[in-house]
Symmetry: C2
Subunit: 233 residues, 2 copies
DNA sequence: ATTTTTACTTATCGATCGATAAATAACATT
DNA sequence: AATGTTATTTATCGATCGATAAGTAAAAAT
């Protein structure tokens, strides 16, 4: 493929005559993680360390100076994407009583999808889920406590239902359906690469409007069931 | 791990002293695909052919007598799961005007989730999506034409809206949100292995009730926009 | 009973993977 | 300018992967 004379250079994945510029460890670390995110998003975690090294213009064993093992590199990738990119403003915005609930939810989903609807975020999230790492379980737990429960309480209030009791599982599950529906839009767009004839803001508006219009009666029914269960218990 | 003396037996993945029972080719073919589905659902497509052979109690090269390459085996897996398990009754049931729309949709999703909410179906579907094969694009296209468009038309009718014009992209997208929300319930249950405090039928009922209650006004708005667009065009 | 067919195994190749040890050269310290 | 530190490369190991060629034995055909 290339005209390199040494066959061992091909075998070891050496790029050719080393550049040998020396960088600060912190910069390298960040650079490695950044490119690893890029590569893993494309190929998945079975992407070779040699491929990564080549994209970095660096030899493969150098990676092991910064990450004891490939799994540690992967852990750093998780940290960067799913921890560092989380915005605490999401929760705050959703709990801001001064704005109407519809506006809050739409604003949240527009910003949230803007953050997570990238190949890096979505594909790596799904790769991780299939791998069985607990990243997804932990992330979804965060979504539930930081996003869905606040939304549930705020929505309940805006319908003049119930007080401050914690949301019931059925209530939370209801809002998971909205979350999942919107998330799956991103999966179709980014993973399956569907042509998406409806743009994101429109999709979000329609989904939220449908949901908020319909959720009132169901929440009411759940609240009634709840009080009945309590009285018969 | 095992007490086998020969190291080459370990290396080649030989199981031990061959059983040498001779089977009919068609039976073998089916057996291979069945076990391949099981294995791929667990590990993904990077599962080794040796691992598969071992689970079948057969040597690895025998696989290549039935499938020219690993990719052909994978193709057979797709065919079995996503083509052979599709039920034409789904479309028919959804278009059965004699039953109320809510009942039809709930019945469909109960049967549909019963079919696809298995580790085999969901995990392999997601593995395929990340691989970039067109399985998912083709499957989703089928879902859209065979399921979502009929649902859209039936729902529209039940609200006394519009005639037989084909559903607009925005309308279809709306029903994709419901589909995605329910699908994502399965992903959380089966892939992320969340504890699911709300059972499937209840989730489906709540989701469909919320959706059907709220979708009326939005469909109406979309229909009005449509006619306005047509008149100004 | 002998021959023919073919399902199945043994053995092995070449590529690629994650990881380690040792050599080298760029930068910091004095 | 000499020395020390460490970022980076070279070389290589052992395991595992998909795939192929050649041998073996079970069933079918005669």
């Amino acid at each position: 493929m290339d005209g390199s004379s040494s066959p061992s250079a091909e075998a070891t994945g050496t790029v050719r005559a080393a550049r040998r510029t020396r960088n600060k460890p912190e910069d390298r670390h960040r650079e490695f993680v950044r490119k690893a995110i890029e590569l893993f998003a494309e190929v998945g975690f079975e992407a070779g360390t040699r491929e990564l090294a080549q994209r970095l213009g660096v030899t493969q064993p150098l990676l092991y100076r910064y990450f004891p093992s490939k799994d540690d590199l992967i852990a750093a990738v998780y940290q960067e994407i799913y921890v560092n990119r989380w915005k605490s403003e999401w929760r705050e915005g959703l709990m801001d009583d001064s704005r109407p609930i519809r506006e809050r939810i739409i604003a949240f989903y527009e910003d949230y999808t803007h953050t997570i609807f990238t190949p890096e975020w979505i594909r790596i999230y799904i790769f991780a889920g299939l791998r069985g790492v607990d990243i997804n379980r932990r992330y979804a737990a965060t979504v539930e406590t930081e996003i869905l429960r606040p939304i549930t309480l705020a929505t309940r209030q805006s319908f003049g239902l119930g007080g401050a009791e914690p949301p019931s599982p059925q209530e939370v599950e209801l809002f998971w359906t909205l979350q999942g529906g919107i998330f799956y839009y991103g999966v179709r767009e980014i993973v399956y690469q569907f042509p998406m004839p409806v743009d994101r803001p429109t999709m979000i508006r329609n989904a939220v409007d449908t949901f908020l219009t319909g959720v009132g009666p169901v929440l009411k029914r759940l609240a009634d069931q709840e009080t009945k269960d309590n009285s018969t218990r």
